[in-house]
């Protein structure tokens, strides 16, 4: 595939105007045209999209198949949920804790989450520290590929099981729910629900802008180079571990932010939202949209979320088959996702003679690079 080299500024303008259009759609058009129910659902998809943007960075650009983003989603979500639970409970111990041990005080690790400032800081700091330690340990030991994928998935399963089994401390399998307030705002008020939605949508736009900057920076180039030829990057004098670590930490941060916003929008967080199946569903959206493209992961995650809400309700059995087929068909025939379709059609038109689909090269993944 011949690669034209348009002026970077032109590309930049195209990407920026894309983001701007997306922002207008999400922040202005959607609240005006959608019902409360669907706006809230869109908010939920935005949370998954935020996590998906991070997965796009780590997996699409960095080649790290992060199958355990649920872990970081959980850190943000549970930090937020603990704060909102305490805000609702006031001075009392949350209701679900009472039965198992009526006299015991609030677990010590809950106490700091009374503070709004601490909670917000935790949503940012916890995933960065956790991903930092985990990433450092794994990348320095050159754990990669399938090993990395399975390990991260195992972590998500372990965390979900741990939360399920610590019922008094975390709410267990039932999770945390029934939040009345969001940093002083009454959550039942539709106007406040719109506000929460807008925060999530705005955060998604911020994340898109951030990765757009990442991708066009020198770091972005190094990350892609590491994905495609880690050894060569090493020979060039860079430490691939550090490059991967930064991408991994940023993707963890995004998952955490998505998780944190998920809580006030959906009103409940449970271990099932962070376990193996949930983590894989996050990957599904990214694969569907286009893992290495700028908008692909976010749009893919939103499409999968929408499919789950709408097809899942009209045709529940069918939805599971569709989701399964989606994985098979997209990965098999369209590894760079739906966002690569225009470029592929263009390529087919240019080379009609070439019948069999050529194997997907790394360069092709970059087809839709912003």
């Amino acid at each position: 595939m011949t690669k034209l080299k348009p002026l970077p500024s032109l590309r930049g303008i195209a990407a920026l105007s894309g983001i701007a259009m997306f922002a207008v759609l999400l922040l202005a058009v959607a609240p005006a045209v959608l019902s409360d129910h669907w706006l809230n659902n869109l908010g939920k998809y935005c949370c998954w999209a935020i996590a998906a943007v991070g997965i796009g960075l780590a997996w699409g650009r960095g080649g790290m198949l992060v199958m355990g983003q649920g872990v970081f989603f959980a850190l943000g979500a549970y930090a937020m949920a603990m704060h909102l639970t305490l805000e609702t409970a006031g001075d009392r111990v949350p209701g679900f804790m009472v039965l198992y041990d009526p006299l015991a005080p609030l677990p010590a690790f809950w106490e700091p989450f009374r503070s709004a400032g601490f909670t917000l800081a935790a949503i940012v700091v916890l995933p960065v520290v956790a991903a930092g330690i985990l990433g450092y340990a794994l990348f320095k030991r050159r754990v990669k590929g399938a090993y990395f994928a399975i390990l991260t998935q195992a972590l998500a399963v372990a965390l979900a099981t741990l939360i399920s089994s610590t019922i008094r401390e975390t709410g267990g399998d039932t999770g945390l729910s029934d939040f009345k307030f969001f940093f002083g705002f009454v959550l039942n008020d539709p106007a406040n629900k719109v506000m929460v939605y807008l925060i999530a949508a705005a955060l998604l736009i911020v994340c898109l802008l951030a990765v757009w900057q990442f991708y066009r920076s020198r770091f972005g180039e190094l990350l892609v180079a590491t994905r495609d030829a880690e050894e060569r990057v090493r020979f060039l004098g860079y430490d691939p571990a550090n490059i991967k670590l930064v991408a991994f930490v940023v993707s963890a941060l995004m998952a955490s932010i998505g998780g944190a916003m998920f809580v006030p929008i959906v009103g409940i967080i449970t271990p099932a939202e962070i376990g193996a199946a949930a983590s894989i569903l996050m990957i599904a959206g990214v694969a569907f949209g286009g893992r290495a493209s700028l908008f692909g992961p976010a749009l893919g995650a939103m499409a999968v979320g929408w499919g789950q809400s709408s097809l899942g309700s009209t045709w529940p059995d069918g939805w599971t088959y569709i989701l399964g087929l989606l994985f098979v068909v997209v990965i098999l025939f369209l590894p760079s996702g739906l966002s690569s379709l225009p470029a592929r059609f263009a390529a087919i038109r240019r080379r009609p003679a070439e019948q069999p689909t050529p194997p997907i090269t790394a360069a092709e993944l970059e087809e839709v690079r912003a």
Binding site: M195, L209, I268, G312
Partner: protein, 432 residues
């Protein structure tokens, strides 16, 4: 390595400004200190359409995912009840038009679908759910939107809501009869085995309190995650503890693993019987002969001899998608739709407040397959008979013990002095 440049700072700034703007634009909602009664009311305006010849009801069960194993039958029996009611003239002359939703074994999905059913489909009431977690996810939503939810499965009690009707057993209708049965058999030591989630944990907390009163010693308490079948290590502990009886609050497929490990370890119903609260006619066949001879505590068994039971069994056997056997949760789901019909007809309206008022002012009864049940208008539970059945070789239950009368529902165990008043007070406070 990370090159922060001006552009990056600029774009982050744009984002920050956007977020702030969003906050300012929308920051007109109610705050914590405001009078929230008006804020909530705008969302609660009902959109139920009662003008036509049909009435929309929502059915919400997991049709996919892990819990579909159990919930599919409840969903099917709801369809059967709806068909029956429609054939006999509907509710207030209106045919039921149901909207089926899939909870997908995911509690947030239960919450989302509840909201969808109430605000998008405008259903008059929702029926379904299975796990306590799904009910706890639905509860805040129906309370916020002032909807109605009919929950058909036995549960751990300690809950009541103006927006939920419970047609399954609460603790004093299933757990406490089971303990009374054990006491009558002279049981001295008991082992608690459960899945690791809210129902077994809460049920066991109550069992421990009552056991202390009855003088039964708890010699062990074990939990295994819902999605794990392997119980061998835990069963080794049971063997070592040598209890007179095992109280089983395991749910789902994990029960199969438990019963097999129990049988493998040489434990037998003759020496160390199990009493379960989640194994019914539906579940027993999947366990094979290893489960035969053990006990279960329910309010309904297929083998129950009442006037109405044969018709229920017959209709179900003739129904498409039928599994051929009837069970307690199915029967409770069947009751829930008929109970709603009686409530609406007593109220003369589908309005939620009118229905709740009718529950208080009228005596609502239904000739259920388990016998004539009466609704308690205050706590929204129904009276039920307590039965203990022993599993026979045909995976049916031989009834070996029954309560002498229908047991009035008492979700907060107010009539039981062994239940600490301070816990009750805190729980009622937390619920309200």
């Amino acid at each position: 390595m990370l090159t922060t440049n001006k552009r990056m700072r600029a774009s982050v700034a744009i984002g920050a400004i956007g977020t702030t703007m969003a906050l300012v634009l929308a920051g007109c909602g109610a705050r914590a200190g405001d009078d929230t009664s008006t804020a909530g009311a705008s969302a609660a305006a009902s959109c139920v359409d009662t003008s036509g010849s049909t009435i929309k009801l929502g059915f919400l069960n997991s049709l996919t995912g892990g819990m579909a194993i159990s919930e599919k039958t409840v969903s099917n029996v709801l369809h059967m009840a709806a068909d029956e009611i429609n054939t006999s003239g509907g509710i207030l002359g209106k045919k039921i038009q149901y909207v089926q939703e899939d909870g997908a074994t995911d509690w947030p999905t239960f919450a989302e679908k509840t909201e969808k059913l109430l605000t998008q489909d405008c259903v008059a009431a929702i029926f379904g759910g299975w796990t306590s977690s799904s009910r706890k996810a639905v509860k805040p939503v129906v309370e916020k939107l002032n909807g109605l939810f009919f929950y058909p499965v036995q549960y751990e009690g300690l809950e009541s809501s103006p927006n939920i009707y419970y047609t399954g057993a609460t603790t004093n209708q299933q757990i406490i009869p089971a303990m009374d049965f054990l006491a009558s058999k002279g049981v001295k030591t008991l082992f608690l085995a459960g899945s690791d989630y809210v129902f077994p944990r809460t049920a066991n907390a109550i069992i421990k309190l009552y056991a202390a009163k009855l003088g039964i010693k708890i010699v062990g308490e074990e939990y295994v995650p819902l999605d794990k079948d392997d119980w061998t290590s835990q069963v080794a502990k049971i063997v070592a503890a040598k209890p007179d009886f095992i109280f089983n609050t395991i749910n789902g497929s994990s029960n199969v693993g438990f019963v097999k490990a129990y049988y493998d370890a040489g434990l037998t119903p003759a020496k160390t019987p199990i009493i379960s609260v989640s194994i019914a006619e539906e579940e027993a066949p999947a366990m094979g002969h290893e489960v035969t001879g053990n006990y279960a505590s329910w309010n309904y068994f297929q083998s129950l001899k009442t006037d109405t039971n044969p018709k229920f069994i017959q209709s179900w056997k003739a129904y498409p998608n039928s599994s051929g056997v009837t069970s307690d949760p199915m029967e409770a789901a069947y009751i829930s739709l008929y109970l709603y019909k009686s409530l609406v007809e007593a109220a003369g309206s589908f309005d939620v407040n009118a229905v709740n008022a009718a529950a208080k002012s009228h005596t609502i009864t239904f000739d259920a397959p388990e016998g004539k049940v009466t609704l308690d208008g205050k706590n929204h539970h129904i009276s039920k008979p307590g039965h203990i059945g022993q599993i026979n070789a045909n995976n049916q239950f031989d009834i070996v013990w029954s309560s002498d009368k229908f047991i009035e529902p008492d979700p907060y165990l107010e009539a039981y002095d062994w239940f600490p008043a301070d816990i009750r007070k805190q729980l009622v406070g937390a619920a309200g």
